[in-house]
């Protein structure tokens, strides 16, 4: 008992609040993001349709990138070089839905199809490969872990090949490549002999490491030094991780973002690893009166999330940030239209080719 008390004290001390987050003034989060060269792409449900929008890092000037009233674009992922966006596109309704994979330039042009009946694309660190998870069954199911195997698509050749351990990869979701190219972080639910876990999967081999951090939806920082994830419906955490090690381990939580009232999900790192974007909104099970949406937990891709918006926080300071008590300057609402805004992904402005 004494030992567990001591342990609790140590944990509490480790995650105790750091200095107060900056107020809304010069140098504040808003000002920092306003000055940022980055942009953010995200999914939003407008005019009975899922579309991808692009906005500045402070949430200003949102622009519809897709404009496809007959297709539903979701789950945007940005290539590390900032040049391209891959995403899923749904056609049809209910069990007849066909979920396909596409990529396009980050300005929305040159859309190209990768494959059908696949989901959860993720970029290789060289921006030349898209990984994805084939659907478990031909029949559509909105549940995110309805996947079997893993495949890599080569943009240059248009050819796909399975991950070397693809046959043993089952019920993964939300995969993310490590910047060093050695690992893929993903969640597994009821598969691979695991109840539920966040795994590191060797990118070009068979090794699988259970990171033993409760929760889901890992996101590795572009500097390769941190992992962010959702330990529960109402928390986002970030902690150090040594991805160059042969047995990477996650350190103690450095940042904890809490919201006891609303769900917070879908964390993504800014390209400089200094900021985090998050989806935030109330619990619900979708709204089937809206075309192209499904019935399940509203954080799942394709489920309408009533009143959900995006916000950003700084990842530079250690400590706990409670979104319900935080000062206005400590976090920034990036969207306010409550149009089921989810799955944000930051964009580094692509480098221009030398003339």
């Amino acid at each position: 008992m004494k030992r567990s008390f001591l342990y609790c004290c140590l944990i509490t001390a480790a995650i105790a609040p750091g200095p107060n987050y900056a107020a809304s003034e010069p140098g504040s989060l808003r000002e920092q993001l306003k000055a940022s060269p980055f942009k953010i792409v995200y999914e939003s449900y407008v005019n009975d349709n899922w579309e991808l929008f692009l906005m500045n890092a402070d949430g200003s000037e949102p622009v519809n990138l897709t404009h496809t009233p007959k297709e539903h674009e979701l789950y945007p992922q940005v290539s590390p070089d900032g040049a391209k966006i891959c995403f899923v596109s749904d056609r049809g309704e209910g069990r007849e839905t066909i979920r396909s994979l596409y990529y396009m330039d980050s300005d929305g042009k040159n859309r190209k199809k990768v494959t059908d009946s696949a989901r959860e694309p993720f970029w290789g660190p060289d921006s030349k490969t898209i990984g994805y998870l084939p659907q478990e069954y031909s029949k559509f199911n909105v549940i995110d872990y309805s996947t079997k195997g893993m495949t890599f698509y080569d943009l240059a050749t248009g050819q796909s090949q399975p991950h070397p351990n693809s046959g043993n990869l089952h019920h993964l979701y939300n995969p993310c490549f490590a910047p060093n190219g050695k690992w893929i972080a993903a969640t597994v639910h009821a598969g691979m002999g695991v109840d539920h876990a966040i795994l590191l999967i060797e990118a070009h081999g068979n090794k699988i490491i259970n990171l033993k951090i409760p929760g889901c939806r890992p996101c590795l920082s572009p500097d390769g030094k941190q992992i962010a994830w959702g330990p529960g419906d109402h928390e986002i955490a970030a902690a150090p991780i040594d991805l160059d090690s042969e047995e990477p381990k996650v350190g103690q939580k450095r940042v904890r973002i809490l919201d006891e009232k609303l769900k917070i999900y879908h964390v993504d790192w800014s390209p400089d690893s200094q900021f985090l974007s998050i989806s935030r909104g109330p619990e619900s099970e979708g709204d089937l009166s809206k075309p192209g949406t499904h019935h399940a937990a509203c954080e799942i891709v394709g489920v309408y999330a009533k009143d959900w918006n995006l916000c950003a926080v700084s990842a530079q300071r250690d400590g706990v940030l409670d979104l319900n008590t935080a000062a206005a300057g400590d976090f920034l609402m990036l969207t306010t239209n409550r149009c089921s805004n989810k799955e944000s992904a930051w964009i580094r402005p692509p480098r221009k080719e030398k003339e």
Binding site: G94, R95, E136, Y137, S138, K139, N141, I143, D144, Y145, S146, H171, H189, A190, G191, G193, D195, H196, C216, E283, S284, E285, G286, D287, L288, H295, A296, A297, C298, E299, I300
Partner: protein, 313 residues
């Protein structure tokens, strides 16, 4: 089990014979397979095991009346009251991993080490989706409207659905009036996987003795979703004919689970024990690893002639 099957087969055969007799000169000859079909509906008065078109073993439960609930159990089990039910088919076993896979649904179960283990961690919604998938596999009209938020049930449709609480309890009691159909609680180990013998896990279905109507694992292994929304006070004013549970009330609606599970005490395995459980429909990961289910299908008189060809050999 073999004795049970034999007894049922004999009773059905006897019933068929007697009904043939009643039809007199209009009755076709016994040597022709189709001859008794017209009179089968009148004849089948005992529970009978069948195999469905997609290969699922079910038990036909004839219409009847029983006393539902208990005045000696928990407050939500009272008052004991008479209920009349139409005939129906009910799965002989809990829905297993291999059945879920056949319906092309992602298996959410915690224990995935045996294809004949019951699925668990199943949301209420997913159980209903399974029912619809199985209906479609057999060319039946699905009961659940997937375009409605709570998957509203059409009880008149011919497909599969979750049992109502009344159907579940009627099938579990199997004509008995006590806490268990087999008699005293000290025999529960022979009929059920529960906390005293399950070793904190599920087990392949059908390993324990069935109840008197041939249904396995009604008392344990996994608790089973019913169609009814849970209301502790429902028995005070439920209808006496085919009760279907109260209307859903708001966001925190609970649904009813019946039967014990691998983690239940003997008390929770009683035929009248009721549990309200959040549906899990708003949870991305539903960790309630004792929630499973089995399906039923209404079987009105006009459907009975087809049953003969599906009788379990």
């Amino acid at each position: 089990m073999a004795r049970m099957t034999f007894r049922l087969a004999v009773s059905v055969a006897l019933a068929l014979f007697s009904s043939c007799s009643r039809t007199g000169s209009d009755a076709p000859a016994e040597t022709q397979p189709d001859t008794t079909r017209g009179s089968f509906s009148a004849a089948i008065t005992e529970p009978a095991e069948i195999v469905t078109k997609s290969g699922v073993e079910m038990v036909f439960i004839p219409d009847g009346e029983f006393v539902m609930g208990s005045d000696k159990g928990n407050p939500d089990e009272a008052p004991a009251h008479k209920v009349k039910l139409g005939s129906f088919l009910i799965d002989q076993y809990e829905v297993t991993h291999e059945m879920f896979a056949k319906a092309q649904l992602p298996n959410p179960s915690h224990w995935q080490d045996h294809p004949k283990k019951p699925v668990e961690r199943v949301r209420w919604r997913d159980a209903k989706l399974y029912c619809n998938e199985r209906s479609l596999l057999e060319g039946l009209q699905p009961c659940y409207d997937e375009k409605t938020q709570g998957l509203v049930c059409n009880f008149e449709a011919g497909g599969y659905r979750l049992p109502t609480e009344a159907e579940w309890e009627y099938a579990c009691r199997a004509g008995a009036s006590g806490e268990y159909d087999f008699g005293p609680a000290n025999k529960l180990r022979e009929h059920s996987w529960f906390e005293e013998n399950a070793q904190e896990r599920t087990h392949p279905v059908g390993q324990k003795k069935p109840n008197r109507w041939g249904l396995h694992d009604m008392y344990g292994n996994v608790s089973e979703w019913c169609e009814d929304v849970y209301s502790p006070a429902y028995y005070k004013n439920s209808p006496s004919q085919d009760p279907r549970g109260p209307a859903a009330v708001g966001k925190d609606t609970k649904s009813t689970l019946r039967g014990g599970s691998w983690k239940s005490s003997a008390n929770m395995c009683r035929a009248t024990f009721r549990q309200g459980q959040r549906t899990g429909d708003a949870d991305a990961c539903f960790y309630t690893d004792f929630c499973g289910f089995r399906c039923v299908r209404r079987m009105a008189a006009e459907g009975l002639p087809k049953l003969r060809s599906q009788l379990k050999p």
